[in-house]
Symmetry: C2
Subunit: 261 residues, 2 copies
């Protein structure tokens, strides 16, 4: 099956996009809710946790691992790819490719957690693909707790989004990468605050397209993936709030299983 | 020495208050920054973590443990008291005693994390001490991330505090317990939004008074506590943001040591 992990709930936006792109494929998800969030922690800690998360998914029978967490993708991809023998997908590159695709000499904004932005990975990858692009990055650490609280449409959330995006608006970005899998849930507010002409790049859509293309090109791997429509949702800590937000994201009822660390 | 633990940074308000009440006493602090916050996690997970935190402090030579975390105090006090042979102090009771002290038939508001409020512990303890008191509790999960980001005086923070406190203001509470060690850092805003006549009970002050009184009554224990003015600050994950906020709370430069889990 396809394994997905995230620090918590945000990666479910990737799970949902994968279900749309690859209907029927068996998926096992692990959310490390006992240690969430990753985005404010050090690289070393995020790498250690990501290794354990991947190990757990492999034990569950994952033949592909999707790191549905930008903080983990930013700092742990190399270690995980070296350690495990299955294809590893991270969320950064697909979003950057999608952004670079629009046009030349563009001004790309990136928003993410502190861990992701401090790693500088989006900037490096964008410059590799389009050396003329101007990149402006902003860490938005309060957006994750706002999403996890379900404050998706509150005026306070709109004010905070506006405040974070202001420096990007002033620089008239042409594209904006949502560099955190929680942010697609705030897409409407973000689009309104940054301006309707700005291309919003949703990394959950970008990565699921990438996984589908990979499987199309690797029929041997595709053959061994079960397609019974099973979805298992493991978390390291079961809370009512997680269940509520999970139901909201997946638009169906979910059964949480205790697992992982 | 005196051991203090918290899920992260909030307990430093207790450390600071202890330094004021018991100047010169050696203190070892542990902030579980690799797994912070506790307040949105399940009781089982908070108990497991609190046991490990206490174990670590004992290994460092703590002769007293102060649980400077309301979420831990709410759910883990019994387990920790049963397991360890040193005096254990939790932050709930001292704050409740302080609130009950004011007058009879009062209306007490309590704000805290979701774990603390869901445990119902403040309500139970207040009713034990003052059966006529009316208690109104509100979970304010976004205040911890706002404090950890250092957004102590921003208009967005003022709006969010106002929104959380509104139901308590309507009920005309006479006292308000700050049931989370992060909240003293927002005391000015909280006082302004709830009204200047409301008694604000700061649990960090309440508990440090309690520890001092205990040591006055137990000279044998007091004698074995070193008083060289040493302060060791361990965290399970070292980040720049923690260092910055720690400096702000303690009003002096700090040296973080990696430790714990």
């Amino acid at each position: 099956m396809i394994g997905i992990f995230d620090s918590g709930i945000g990666g479910l936006t990737v799970a949902r996009a994968l279900m749309d792109h690859l209907p029927g494929y068996d998926i096992v998800y692990f959310g490390d809710t006992a240690r969430t969030p990753y985005g404010s922690k050090s690289s070393k800690t995020v790498i250690d946790y990501s290794m354990e998360d991947s190990e757990f998914l492999i034990q569950q029978g994952a033949k592909i691992i999707v790191m549905a967490c930008n903080s983990a993708s930013s700092v742990a991809t190399e270690c995980i790819t070296r350690r495990f023998d299955v294809p590893i997908f991270e969320v950064i590159t697909p979003a950057v490719e999608m952004a670079a695709h629009f046009k030349k000499e563009q001004r790309i904004g990136v928003i993410g957690t502190r861990a992701t932005i401090n790693s500088g990975i989006y900037e490096r990858k964008i410059k590799e693909m389009d050396p003329d692009a101007k990149v402006y990055s902003i860490a938005c650490p309060l957006l994750v707790p706002l999403v996890e609280e379900g404050w998706l449409k509150k005026p306070e959330t709109r004010m905070i989004v506006k405040k974070y995006l202001y420096p990007l608006k002033v620089r008239q970005v042409t594209s904006l990468i949502l560099g955190c899998t929680h942010y697609p849930l705030l897409k409407t507010i973000i689009q309104r605050k940054i301006g309707k002409r700005v291309n919003i790049i949703d990394s959950s859509l970008a990565i699921s397209g990438k996984v589908k293309a990979y499987l199309d090109g690797h029929p041997d791997l595709d053959k061994v993936l079960n397609k019974s429509g099973m979805f298992r949702l493991f978390v390291s800590d079961i809370t009512e709030q997680f269940e509520k937000t999970a139901r909201y994201i997946l638009k169906k009822s979910v059964r949480l299983e205790q697992g992982g660390i």
